[in-house]
């Protein structure tokens, strides 16, 4: 032990170089991750004449403008897309979470035959390409009179976000000692009450990432939203952004403003729950 401990005061040049290289690497990672979106934010505040110039204006100060944001909400009427997305995605995430909690709890606790197969099937299903399920879903929603409705798309998203949610929740429920369930039962709680009042609060570190991953997946989904919401007034944010075009030229500033509006809530959520997400995904990835 003593042989490896080096005096801290005297750092060799080799170590110095290595430390610099590491600092450079880490800075590079941060810049690479942040620059594209930061550039989108800058773009959203710059007037069109600055955007048209080849030499970019690095900061919109002074001379920044809110024109693009005004365009997004007034001229392009972007608010309905946001409302549609919020309705569909919040309801889908909430309902999926309830189903996923029930399913994950039963897989983790009840003596069900063929649990492994069920879990395997659940995960395999999430890997199906969307394009190979889209036409049958379209027909199915037509026959149920749910095409172009909130419950229709929301129902599809519930089904799609279940596998990953079940998996993450199961990975967390599994680590909770059964003694906890038993104690609750002795106190007279039924299985549902045990799940709701005992297990879920303890498994919160898993519930948060499960909900967040499900919500993000729905918030970002394009192909199904494009195909299953047929009238423009029902379309969600990804469709709105994908179809954003100008009459004569590409309205980069307006697109940037719309992007910032729909992305900032997500980025904030992710930053707030950063630690929970890393831990939650960790538990799911490792213990499987």
């Amino acid at each position: 032990m003593a042989a490896i401990a080096q005096p801290r005061a005297r750092i060799s040049t080799g170590k110095h170089v290595r430390r610099w290289a590491f600092g450079l690497l880490v800075t590079g990672i941060a810049v690479w991750s942040l620059f594209p979106f930061a550039w989108q934010v800058v773009t959203s505040f710059e007037p069109d004449r600055d955007l048209a110039r080849f030499t970019p204006t690095w900061l919109p100060i002074p001379g920044g403008t809110l024109q693009h944001y005004r365009n997004v909400f007034v001229a392009k009427d972007f608010a309905p897309y946001i409302l549609n997305s919020v309705i569909v995605d919040v309801s889908a995430t909430a309902i999926a979470l309830v189903f996923a909690a029930l399913a994950a709890y039963s897989i983790a606790r009840l003596p069900l035959p063929g649990k492994g197969i069920v879990l395997g099937l659940v995960l395999a299903v999430s890997m199906f390409p969307q394009i190979s399920i889209v036409t049958p879903l379209y027909e199915l929603l037509i026959s149920l009179h749910l095409i172009d409705t909130y419950p229709g798309l929301s129902g599809v998203y519930i089904g799609l976000s279940l596998p990953l949610m079940v998996y993450i929740l199961w990975a967390h429920f599994r680590t909770i000692p059964r003694e906890l369930d038993e104690a609750a039962r002795i106190d007279g709680a039924g299985q549902l009450r045990t799940l709701w009042h005992v297990i879920i609060p303890v498994a919160m570190p898993g519930v948060v990432p499960a909900a967040l991953l499900g919500f993000i997946a729905s918030w970002n989904e394009l192909l199904l939203a494009l195909s299953l919401m047929t009238s423009p007034s029902r379309q969600t944010i990804p469709v709105g952004i994908a179809n954003f075009t100008g009459l004569y030229s590409i309205p980069w500033g307006d697109i940037a403003a719309a992007s910032v509006v729909v992305t900032v809530p997500l980025v904030l959520l992710v930053l707030i729950f950063q630690r929970r997400i890393i831990e939650g995904v960790t538990a799911g990835a490792v213990k499987g």
């Binding site: 032990m1 690497l25 880490v26 990672i29 991750s33 942040l34 594209p36 979106f37 550039w39 989108q40 773009t43 030499t55 970019p56 189903f99 996923a100 029930l102 399913a103 659940v122 299903v125 890997m127 199906f128 390409p129 969307q130 394009i131 190979s132 399920i133 889209v134 036409t135 049958p136 879903l137 199915l140 129902g155 599809v156 519930i158 089904g159 279940l162 079940v166 918030w219 970002n220 394009l222 192909l223 944010i237 990804p238 952004i241 994908a242 980069w252 697109i255 940037a256 992007s259 992305t263 997500l266 992710v270 930053l271 950063q274 997400i277 890393i278 995904v281 960790t282 990835a285 490792v286």
Partner: protein
């Protein structure tokens, strides 16, 4: 729960496979069982094979790049350093951004009047602005860059999780035995990380293979179909051509290719587990 899963996944897939053997079309109003006619048409459809090849290229390049970059980022973020929390949070930003927004962002970055071209011209790496998205050779690589930017963080996150399971005592033991940090990485860390690495790249590969948003928004499959992927091609046949039967055949071909990819990874993963066994 099972019922809803069956409704949104298993039933549709089986139904798609069934439709692949019919000539169902909303335009000609036909709907008959035609046996292998669609498959024969696929075999001679050069656009289909172009899309198939491009999708495989896209999948291979992005999966390999994302695995390597993800590994580098995971190893860096595993170290303790000042500002680690900030960098870990920063890395999650691309992952939180909708793919459609990523697509728009990269269209703007790589536009002829965009900032990438400005930097290339300023540093004399290019004499004139490059038309990245208008070129049949550069458009697909540009989409790859966008995908790598967007999904490397998730890869890094999974690998970081894997790294945390390597017992920290091992590093010390290896150092006492006189192993260089290089040898420690190759002999101890990487083998222990291998199962996570394989599973994570399998998930990435399957996800990359169904890429739709990026080409749909950035290039619309162009120029000259050079960024057409299986998903965008099938979408065009289904929703623009309204040829449900033939479109389903393409979707089925895609499904089969995914199963093959998963199978290849499966062999590696099983062999890996046996070795440890």
């Amino acid at each position: 729960m099972l019922a809803s899963l069956l409704a949104v996944s298993l039933y549709p897939v089986l139904r798609t496979i069934w439709m692949a053997f019919r000539n169902t079309s909303l335009e000609s109003q036909s709907d008959n069982f035609t046996g292998l006619a669609n498959i024969r048409r696929l075999a001679h459809d050069s656009l289909f094979w172009q899309a198939w090849r491009q999708t495989l290229e896209f999948t291979a390049v992005t999966t390999i790049a994302e695995t390597l970059l993800g590994l580098v980022i995971a190893l860096a973020l595993y170290q303790k350093f000042r500002g680690r929390g900030f960098v870990r949070a920063a890395v999650l930003v691309p992952w939180a951004i909708p793919t459609v927004v990523t697509a728009r962002m990269f269209s703007w970055l790589f536009d002829q009047g965009g900032v990438v071209n400005y930097l290339l011209v300023e540093t004399h790496l290019a004499s004139a602005p490059v038309n990245f998205l208008g070129s049949t050779t550069l458009a697909l690589p540009t989409l790859m860059v966008a995908d790598i930017w967007k999904t490397t963080p998730f890869m890094a996150l999974l690998l970081l999780a894997g790294l945390h399971t390597v017992p920290p005592g091992l590093a010390e033991a290896a150092r006492i035995d006189g192993a260089s940090s290089w040898a420690y990485f190759w002999r101890v860390r990487l083998p222990l990380l291998m199962p996570t690495l394989l599973v994570a790249s399998l998930l990435r590969a399957l996800d990359a293979f169904r890429v739709f948003d990026l080409p749909y928004v950035v290039t619309g499959g162009g120029p000259a179909s050079s960024t057409q992927t299986m998903s965008t091609y099938a979408y065009n046949i289904l929703f623009s051509g309204l040829e449900i039967g033939y479109g389903s055949a393409i979707a089925t071909a895609m499904f089969v290719t995914e199963v093959i990819i998963a199978g290849i990874f499966g062999v590696f993963i099983v062999r890996r587990i046996r070795q440890e066994g």
